[in-house]
């Protein structure tokens, strides 16, 4: 009996200890953990060595093994040596754990969160909606302490967000003085928020009851707050914090914790005036490197938003903001300067509107071991970085096998017309492609991961011609830019496709009265392009590949086409409105002109180097044989590129890497090879010979026999093996790749500036004062030629902006801020702060530092 009791106690102890251990958060004891350090975008990531010169072609690594790894165990797996790099971005709350584990990490922008307000006056007049009052919405900016949210909920790993534009990125940097002034103006101030709310609520007819709660028509003013409890879990504490703040100023908050599926039907699916909700913890994910965010004002605030639903349509904005937002979205400005002014004003007005009050720009982190070198896009993360696979390596080493973990693989079938666009799938596809796949321009260019601009990779020269008056600016010198009064589209340019005759329709045929365009890009490809660039199956790239990709961009939208797909037709037809034509000027060397009415504010991003890559913005390249046999299968009703059509036709969705598609494609490959089939022969017959067709099909068949899939590209790695059920794949180095491995070593790491400000501790009001700013990168002076501007902002004791100005360059990395006697005379006696913002050219992220001093009489 005694023994039994001992066993029982021991057993309970075992269970209890397990429970206790399980309740402990991952990582070490939190009570012993030092305060987390807020990672600033000014902090340079861990140093990576500049690669030595090499004779190696293709990727630095011999092999990359990619598999699915749970994000929860990523850090443990890295520590255990099970993987070398976890490429999917983790939320910022893991940042302390990554640092504690002694791992390196990338740092990029992730999703962004804020509070969406119901702006309608409720139909039930007995119920007051305080957020129908713009001033109360504006006051919410003072009520929310974004720094607190960042520190407490996001472990200090994210960025407080005030504006709809991305914090500390391109637009923000361009508007830095306005942005910092507004951030100062709208800094957390509970008293000010309360004061405004009190005044407005009283004006709306509400009374503050003896219990300190607002009453309207004898009932408490209750805010129905939809708080998301799913996702990364951070919106729940954020919502609770905001609810607490609202309660502290007298509101009664009905906290409704809901998942997306529960919240969406109420937030977007009910009329705002019905009053079923007051606030919602909204979240969005950015798409691509945001260099041009002028449309966000219309999209995020105005009733003309393209979202065309609640709560936008119920918002009545200030007429000035309404016009400004619409004009910005529609490009109604004629110069970069005018645009800049409009943006600055819109920033200010958007805060007064505050249909959304933004709270956090999340940063995401992809951890990796210390012997690994990773290049990553500052805006969108490693898996969206086109240059990432080019530079991925073990530091100071050529070759080796790297084990990479990611969140998922093969989420949808892979094809370049309507296939998977999931970031983890696209991340792998990018390793198999030449240059940029879908972020900017085309594959002849490489996207700069730090600025969002682009550089030539497989083009000899580029020329941009645009219509005078368009606000286009040139940033880099590799593109030749000129403007004309009128840009006519040549009569022989291809402007559309006739699926019946299988020929392009020329401008002269479709527009006999002539056609004009806003921009024309003319790209000359290298003279040895067709000798040096090879597909992974060994076939040289050909003009046929280029033309086939052009056709594929039109044909699915034509009802006469056997591959007509209504889900693609909608977007193709919409694109044709701005598209003005292609023209192959020469095939040796290859010179292609592209005409369009659509333009980008950056000249470089208007260059359209056509390439045999996805015409639908997906990652991945397509040789003409794979399109040919996929089209044959689709025309025969056995496969469909898009999920929509496959559902409609009840056939399999085309996959070039696995599943039932492979057998079908193999069948059509045999058929095409036996017939020396040339697709769209009336057109492609001019570019593809029977001999080329035979060679291409023969090589493709060998490829399929050796690798078991149809995914080929021209990039630095080829897809060797695919294991769809096991969720893993193997990439191998493409030794035949045209470029050396160090081709993009210039992007090895972001050249983030570090700034130190020094000066007098006391400044006499009304006297001149001089401060020195030192700007460095890895402890070396930041070259003056690489710095766009150094702004200074002087704040007084209340935190209000007194002066904004430009610092003076003294030498490389040395700047001086001289506060004149007139400027210091504006200071009140007491503490003051000088902030310096350095805007480098090689990275779009500015560096900030500040210096506190005392203003004395």
């Amino acid at each position: 009996m005694k023994l039994g009791k001992i066993y029982a106690v021991l057993s309970l102890l075992v269970v209890f200890s397990m429970l206790l251990a399980a309740c402990q958060p991952s990582g070490s004891d939190t009570t012993g953990m030092p305060e987390t350090e807020a990672p600033s975008m000014t902090e340079a990531p861990a140093a990576t060595e500049a690669p030595a010169q090499t004779s190696r072609h293709g990727g630095w690594l011999d092999e990359i093994d990619v598999s699915v790894v749970s994000g929860d165990s990523a850090i443990s797996q890295l520590q255990a040596g099970a993987i070398d790099y976890f490429s999917f971005g983790l939320a910022s709350d893991v940042y302390p754990a990554i640092k504690e584990a002694g791992l390196k990490t990338t740092q990029s922008f992730g999703s962004y969160y804020g509070i969406s307000f119901n702006p309608a006056v409720f139909t039930d007049t007995k119920t007051l909606n305080p957020f129908s009052d713009r001033k109360i919405r504006e006051a919410m900016n003072w009520l929310i302490d974004r720094n607190y949210v960042n520190q407490e909920i996001y472990a200090g790993g994210s960025l407080p967000k005030l504006f709809t534009i991305t914090t500390q990125l391109v637009e923000y940097t361009n508007l830095i003085d306005t942005a910092r002034s507004l951030e100062s103006k709208y800094a957390y101030n509970l008293d000010k928020a309360k004061e405004i709310i009190d005044a407005e609520m009283t004006g709306l007819g509400a009374d503050l009851g003896p219990d300190g709660k607002w009453q309207y028509n004898g009932a408490p003013v209750t805010l129905a707050f939809l708080i998301r409890s799913d996702g990364d879990g951070t919106r729940k504490p954020m919502g609770d914090y905001v609810a607490n703040q609202l309660e502290s100023v007298g509101f009664t908050v009905d906290r409704q914790y809901k998942t997306s599926s529960e919240a969406f039907p109420i937030w977007l699916g009910t009329a705002a005036a019905d009053g079923q909700w007051s606030m919602y913890t909204a979240g969005y994910i950015p798409s691509g490197f945001p260099r041009d965010e002028r449309a966000l004002f219309q999209q995020g605030y105005l009733n003309t938003s393209i979202q065309a639903g609640e709560p936008y349509i119920s918002n009545v904005s200030d007429p000035e903001f309404q016009k400004l937002g619409d004009d910005l979205a529609q490009g109604n400005f004629s110069s970069p300067e005018e645009r800049q002014k409009m943006m600055a004003r819109a920033l200010e007005l958007s805060l007064q509107d505050s249909l959304f009050v933004w709270v956090i720009d999340q940063q995401t982190y992809s951890p990796y071991n210390n012997n690994v070198q990773v290049t990553y896009d500052l805006a969108t993360g490693p898996e969206s970085t086109n240059v990432g696979p080019y530079n991925l390596r073990f530091a100071g080493q050529e070759g080796g096998t790297m084990r990479v973990g990611t969140n998922d693989l093969f989420t949808q079938p892979w094809n370049t017309v309507g296939g998977s666009n999931w970031v983890w799938d696209a991340g792998v596809m990018r390793a198999t492609t030449m240059g940029t796949s879908n972020a900017v321009g085309g594959a002849g260019l490489m996207a700069d991961p730090y600025t969002g601009l682009a550089y030539p990779q497989r083009i000899e020269s580029a020329e941009l011609t645009y219509k005078k008056g368009l606000p286009i600016q040139q940033n880099l010198d590799w593109v030749k830019v000129n403007s004309v009064d009128q840009l006519d589209v040549p009569a022989d340019a291809w402007v559309d496709w006739d699926a019946k005759t299988q020929k392009f329709i020329t401008a002269a045929e479709k527009f006999p009265d002539g056609l004009t365009a806003n921009v024309m890009s003319r790209v000359t490809y290298p003279a040895d392009l067709f000798q040096t660039v090879k597909w992974h199956d060994g076939s040289p790239i050909s003009v046929g590949d280029f033309v086939m990709s052009m056709i594929q961009g039109f044909d699915p939208a034509k009802k006469d086409s056997p591959i007509y797909d209504e889900s693609l037709a909608a977007s193709i037809d919409a694109g044709l409105v701005a598209f003005k034509g292609y023209r192959i000027v020469s095939t040796d060397p290859l010179v292609i002109e592209a005409y369009s009415d659509s333009y980008n504010k950056d000249a470089e991003l208007n260059i359209l180097p056509l390439w045999p890559a996805s015409a639908f913005g997906l990652a991945g390249e397509n040789s003409w044989p794979i399109l040919a046999i996929s089209n044959m299968a689709e025309a025969a009703g056995e496969l469909a590129y898009t999920s929509d059509k496959s559902d409609l036709e009840k056939v399999e969705n085309t996959s070039w890497v696995g599943g039932p598609s492979l057998e079908i494609l193999s069948k059509y490959l045999d058929q095409a090879a036996s017939e020396s089939y040339i697709p769209y022969e009336p057109t492609l017959g001019q570019y593809i010979t029977k001999d080329e067709a035979d060679l291409r099909y023969s090589n493709f068949k060998k490829w399929y026999a050796n690798h078991g899939h149809f995914w080929v590209g021209t990039g630095p790695y080829y897809l060797d093996k695919v294991f769809t059920t096991e969720k893993s794949l193997v990439l191998k180095q493409n030794a035949d790749f045209v470029d050396l491995s160090d081709r993009w070593s210039v992007f090895s790491e972001p050249k983030l500036a570090t700034t130190v400000l020094d000066g007098p501790g006391q400044v006499k009001v009304g006297e001149e004062a001089v401060f020195d700013a030192t700007v460095t990168f890895k402890d070396k002076p930041y070259p003056q030629s690489d710095i766009q501007k150094v702004k200074y902002i002087l704040y007084d004791a209340t935190g209000a902006v007194v002066v904004v100005g430009d610092a003076t360059a003294v030498a490389d990395g040395q700047y001086q801020v001289t506060l004149t006697s007139e400027q210091t005379a504006k200071l009140q006696t007491g503490s003051a702060r000088l902030e310096v913002a350095v805007v480098p050219i090689p990275v779009a992220v500015p560096s900030f530092t500040s210096f506190d001093f005392v203003a004395i009489p």
């Binding site: 066993y7 029982a8 021991l10 057993s11 309970l12 269970v15 397990m18 399980a22 598999s67 699915v68 790894v69 165990s73 443990s76 797996q77 255990a80 099970a82 997306s260 599926s261 969406f264 039907p265 937030w267 977007l268 699916g269 798409s287 691509g288 041009d292 449309a295 003309t304 393209i306 979202q307 065309a308 639903g309 979205a329 093969f410 949808q412 079938p413 889900s567 909608a570 977007s571 919409a574 409105v577 701005a578 009415d597 659509s598 913005g617 559902d647 409609l648 399999e652 969705n653 996959s655 696995g658 599943g659 039932p660 598609s661 294991f723 769809t724 059920t725 096991e726 969720k727 893993s728």
Partner: protein, 392 residues
């Protein structure tokens, strides 16, 4: 699930009458009586089978329809999906560079057309009542159809392929762990019931509350210990990445990956399972006829096999049959923790994505398996227990 109410032993009076009739009538009459008895028995069994099949089918129909209704939340999912589609497409088009300078009217038309197409693709253009009926009729005819959003790992949207692709992994994990659990529990429980009150008996009883902890919880512990700390077993997945090329190495790799999820499944149920069977056997061990057998001096092995195990066979067979069909459902959370590519994870994702065809597909197969098992068990009981008769 012992078939209570349908497995009816002959009453003592009936048994007596039949026996008396056979033993007291002349041979010709005996034959007639036997024939009549056989015919009656045949009709009884036939009638029973008919009624039983109809009842089971009705139960399956109701169960599936309820599943469809729950999966659709009585139509509320339509609202969720419509809003999700609008938000997703608007965001996608709104954020794309190409749409930035589109004429607002063109862009709006593109958005509305895209939304309409997507709603059509997922079937929202068809009234929910019609859709529910289609789901039901397709399910009952085992026409599993196509998933709404999910695809199989190899890219197919056919529900049949999505489920079949994951079946082997689930059968391997669940089969190995559950069969091991079942047989080991029975043998250990028998042993404990023989040695009631000894050290191991008390030890197992003391540990039985640990089964309150779910398997995924054990899984996390096991991962931390054997993968993160000792680095002797993999963190998850079903095979190394990349999978070994030769079959032997592949099998070894799968076995390595199987250990932790398998052990966590076994560990979480082992003690309570042994405890259950041990108690069960103890109850049967205290029957009068067992005491009588003991008093007669029969060897304990014979007592165990003939007097304890045999009467418990219907229960053991029932448990075993249900265990076999439960393999189909997989282990939702354990498979997720270990990234095991099984049916549990598929179902988990399908529920999250409101992919009704997959939920219904998985449920109908389970429902049919369950109905068949229940039906067959009625006959199995007759074979293993002479007291049981069909249809009486």
């Amino acid at each position: 699930m012992t078939g209570a109410g349908i497995i009816l032993p002959l009453s003592d009076q009936q048994e007596f009458e039949v026996t008396m009739a056979i033993t007291t009538q002349p041979s010709a009459e005996i034959l007639v009586i036997k024939k009549t008895y056989r015919e009656r028995a045949f009709m009884r069994v036939f009638r029973y089978i008919g009624v039983r099949l109809l009842t089971l089918f009705g139960t399956v129909v109701i169960g599936i329809y309820l599943t469809i209704m729950i999966a659709n939340m009585g139509g509320y999912v339509d609202r969720i999906m419509r809003n999700e589609i609008r938000d997703r497409i608007t965001q996608r088009i709104g954020l794309s560079a190409a749409s930035q300078q589109m004429d607002p009217a063109v862009r709006k038309k593109l958005i509305e057309d895209s939304i309409a197409l997507e709603e059509k693709r997922v079937g929202l253009n068809v009234p929910i009542a019609v859709r529910n009926f289609r789901y039901l009729s397709n399910a009952l005819t085992l026409n599993l159809g196509r998933a709404i959003n999910m695809t199989s790992d190899s890219g197919s949207k056919q529900v049949r392929l999505i489920l079949l692709e994951r079946l082997p992994a689930t059968l391997l994990l669940m089969g190995t762990s559950q069969l091991f659990l079942f047989f080991s529990s029975i043998f250990i429980a028998l042993s404990l019931s023989r040695n009631y009150g000894n050290f191991w008996d008390k030890f197992i009883i003391a540990l039985s509350p640990t089964s309150a902890v779910p398997p995924w919880f054990y899984g996390i512990f096991l991962i931390l210990i054997f993968a993160a700390a000792f680095k002797v077993l993999p963190f998850g997945g079903m095979v190394d990445s990349p999978p070994p090329a030769n079959t032997f190495d592949y099998a070894v790799s799968v076995l390595q990956h199987l250990i932790l999820p398998g052990v966590s499944l076994v560990l979480s149920s082992f003690f309570i399972s042994v405890y259950n069977y041990r108690t069960f056997f103890l109850i049967y061990s205290s029957e009068d006829y067992v005491d009588m057998a003991k008093a007669k001096g029969l060897p304990s092995r014979d007592i165990e096999r003939t007097y304890i195990l045999r009467p418990t066979l219907p229960n053991i067979i029932t448990n075993f049959s249900l265990l076999i069909i439960s393999l189909w459902t997989g282990a939702l959370f354990t498979e997720t923790v270990f990234l095991w590519p099984g049916l549990g994870r598929t179902l988990f994702h399908a529920i999250g994505q409101y992919d009704t065809p997959i939920i219904v597909g998985s449920t109908i197969i389970y429902a049919y398996l369950l109905a068949m098992t229940v039906f067959l068990l009625d006959f199995v009981y007759v074979l293993v227990d002479p007291r049981v008769k069909i249809g009486k």
